[in-house]
Amino acid sequence: MKRIIILFLIISIALLSGCWDMEEINNRSYVSVIGMDLNNKGDNGEKFKVTYSYPNINALGKNPSSEQNRFIETTSASTAYEATRKLSTSTDKPLFFKNLKTLVIGEELFKEKELVKEILDGLGREQRINRKINILLAEGKAEDILKITPEKETASAVGTYLSDILRNDKITGRFTARTLSQVLADTDISDAALVPKIKIEKKDLEISGGGIIKDYKLIGKIGEMENICIAMMNGDFNSDVIEATYNDTHISYAVTIFSSSKRVYVEGGKIIADIDLNIEGYLQQYKLDKELQAFDEKFLQGAEKSLEDRIKRETLNTIELLQKKYNADVIGIGEWISKFKPSLWKEIKDNYDEVFPNIEIRVNPTVEIRRTGLSR
């Protein structure tokens, strides 16, 4: 009998002293977006200004109340992690990062190479933050981006609004969502990465274009059309609308199936990269006229050619920009060489910066109009 009592006591002690990790689900703050900015008034080592956005649980659920549906907290700190601890002096619920979806980095901050390196290292090491968080470049300050409550946001989308927009990269090529692991992988191989850009547009948030990151530093921004071209050359492109002019008429063409392939070879001492783009889609808009019909061989071929020309023109412009102005290989040429022509890569990888602008990149788009819709 005594043995049972002792055993019981031991077990109860073990149980009661436990529960080290217990924290009720409604007692946590689920940080959904983090914003990081450069702290201009940065003295005493506090280089960062970190903003956390987390939903107000009270306002969610079946009967959302009319309270504000999220809280924004900003603090200055020397690292992002210190910011968390600093905030614990003023928030009642511990911050929880497992459901973090997006990280917005301010423009100015992105220009500081060393700080960016610190951030990326911390994120890669972090066990609580997933590596599939999206990274966004903020035009301006990240804090401002987070403070906006877009009008279109519904109660159920609180916290996932930004990542939901980023999911749209399946239907448009104007921006390409990049996750942390993708950014890390990109910088590993070719020292350059592309990060989508977000800006405030008339009280709403808009993600378009991107920022070129070279050697962990923001060196330039690109617009939507350029992003489409880069996405095409990278193979990340899924679908979008491309417009061209044929015989003074405006054609609108929607891409449904897209694939691209690269081939790099050395010819006559020069490195040549051939990028083939295979584009299939359907015609969306032509012009309603008794004379004009889309079911016309001459028209179809001509339209395809116009589209190809347009794409070729745009991509060559983008390549020029990337090679000459930014010297950033975000289109994956270096990556391709490292994988499929390793001996060549061994030669050029150490001075790739000099080699890249001199690579002759040829783009061969092939456009097929598969369908013309319901009318001829």
Binding site: L15, M22, E24, I25, N26, Y30, P55, F96, G159
Partner: protein
């Protein structure tokens, strides 16, 4: 209390002795009669009023006895022994009788509902089988109803039950061995098996355990069950029980041994494994595709019944990161104003549900159903409205309860109930890791259980020998494909002759 003494010659001595032993037993009748008018022979009938079939006694025993003419009595019947011979073979019209000489046998016979005829001048008595007592008519077994399939269930009378099974197995290989267990209760029981299928070792083990029993009484087959089990301390049952004669017959065909106990409608089936406990007779009466899906659902239900509350506790208190984002927000929002941590919430609701269950079993009929509905609806709804528990908890708890009813074996469901609470404690201390530790403990426990030498976790744990058994456990293949008997009982004869 040994009465192993032979009967005396005179009726008076025997009768007095019996009356002394059976004094204060006013339900035992001593009926004296004198047969024959010339040289009347005194006889006495001893029986328990209420355990005999009165018609049998009056019409087929008393009447022929009292009508014996003197001629037959004296004619050629010089000795008492030949008188007994004549009576038993030519006169008394009872279907089953035997001659006994021992006091103990007399008492045993009388207390079993048979009538003993004592004859003056002889040390022999005649034991007449007149058993008949009011018993429940054969109806659908209450605990195991089916949509399709026979609806006769076993009753409390041993002979009826044996007959119900015998009807389904008209094979000479079906052996029925009667035994009596219990010093005071002297409960009759029958061990039934198919001689050319059953493994001899299993049978011998069963006999050994039954013969080694030294108990006073066996009130119900469940007592017998716990006395002959391998591991009576385990919450898991190692012997299956059923009220359905068709289930017993099917088990006998598979090489198992059935033990039927008098006064209990539940027959014991030996051995029992996880596979057999999760099977229901209805699986064999519905079409195979439906039965397979139902079986898979049943396993899923068992899984839910054990783990649902503990997973809820683990996820809400420890790991909200495991939920998809939307779900995490929703759960958090639904628990906003609940004052208790999820552990307390879960325990509260589970205990309330157990109370409801207990209350429901005691009250049957219309009141019982009302309590079930009232209890469930009102208490659950009221609790949510009062804000004491979150609606998700109610759903989890009701799903758990419903799932545990999906398990065919009631004992297995109760074992899982026990483990459910254990898991909840584990989850409360160490979250998901604790739940997994609990699962390890449960699996370790189950793996070490044997049922009469057969591993309890068959057929899932020893696939080499029992590969074919999977055809009839998680799913059920059509009968055409079940050409061989399952191996887990190591039957002698494996072909089913399809």
């Amino acid at each position: 209390m040994e009465y192993n003494i032979p009967l005396k010659k005179t009726l008076k001595e025997n009768s007095d002795e019996l009356k002394k032993i059976l004094n204060e037993c006013d339900d035992i009748i001593f009926r004296e009669l004198k047969v024959g008018s010339n040289k009347p022979v005194s006889m006495e009938l001893i029986f328990v009023d209420g355990m005999i079939d009165r018609d049998d006694l009056s019409s087929f025993v008393l009447r022929p006895l009292l009508r014996i003419s003197d001629d037959i009595l004296s004619n050629g019947n010089k000795s008492i022994d030949s008188l007994i011979d004549m009576l038993s073979k030519e006169n008394i019209q009872i279907s089953d009788m035997k001659v006994i000489q021992n006091m103990e046998e007399v008492i045993k016979a009388v207390l079993s509902g048979e009538t003993v005829l004592l004859i003056d001048g002889s040390e022999k008595a005649i034991d007449l089988s007149t058993r008949g007592w009011p018993s429940r008519s054969i109806g659908e077994p209450v605990s195991e109803e089916t949509v399709r399939g026979p609806r006769d269930g076993m009753t409390e009378t041993l002979k009826t039950n044996i007959a119900l099974i015998r009807r389904r197995i008209r094979d000479t290989n079906l052996k029925v061995k009667m035994m009596q267990i219990g010093k005071r209760s002297k409960t009759d029981m029958a061990v039934m098996y198919m001689e050319d299928i059953v493994e001899p070792r299993l049978l011998n083990e069963t006999y050994k355990r039954l013969n080694n029993l030294k108990v006073d009484e066996i009130i119900d087959s469940s007592m017998l069950e716990s006395l002959i089990e391998d591991h009576c301390y385990s919450p898991f049952p190692q012997i299956e029980n059923t009220e359905r004669p068709d289930a017993v017959a099917a088990s006998l065909y598979e090489g198992r041994v059935a033990i039927i106990v008098d006064n209990s409608p539940f027959a014991l089936l030996v051995p029992a494994t996880v596979g057999t406990l999760m099977q229901s007779t209805e699986d064999y009466y519905t079409r195979w595709s439906v039965a397979s899906i139902v079986r898979i659902i049943r396993y899923f239900a068992a899984f839910l019944a054990v783990l649902a509350p503990s997973l809820y506790i683990a996820v809400t208190s420890y790991h909200p990161g495991l939920l998809p984002t939307r779900l995490a927000y929703y759960v958090a929002a639904s628990r906003v104003n609940v004052p208790f941590p999820s552990v307390i919430e879960a325990f509260l609701m589970e205990i309330t549900l157990e109370l409801l269950r207990e209350a429901g079993t005691r009250i049957s009929g219309p009141i019982g159903t009302t309590i079930g509905i009232v209890g469930g609806l009102i208490i659950g709804q009221a609790a949510v409205d009062a804000g004491i528990v979150s609606p998700l908890m109610i759903i989890i708890v009701s799903v758990t309860t419903i799932s545990s009813f999906a398990i065919p074996s009631y004992e297995l469901a109760t074992a899982l109930r026990f483990f459910r609470f254990l898991f909840m404690i584990y989850a409360a201390v160490l979250g998901l890791y604790g739940v997994m530790l609990g699962i390890i403990v449960m699996i370790t426990h189950m793996a070490k259980l044997d049922s009469f030498g057969i591993p309890f976790t068959s057929p899932y744990s020893g696939l080499g020998r029992e590969k074919g058994d999977l055809r009839d456990t998680i799913i059920r293949v059509p009968f055409q494909n079940m050409k061989k008997r399952p191996r887990f009982t190591f039957p002698k004869n494996r072909t089913r002759l399809k």
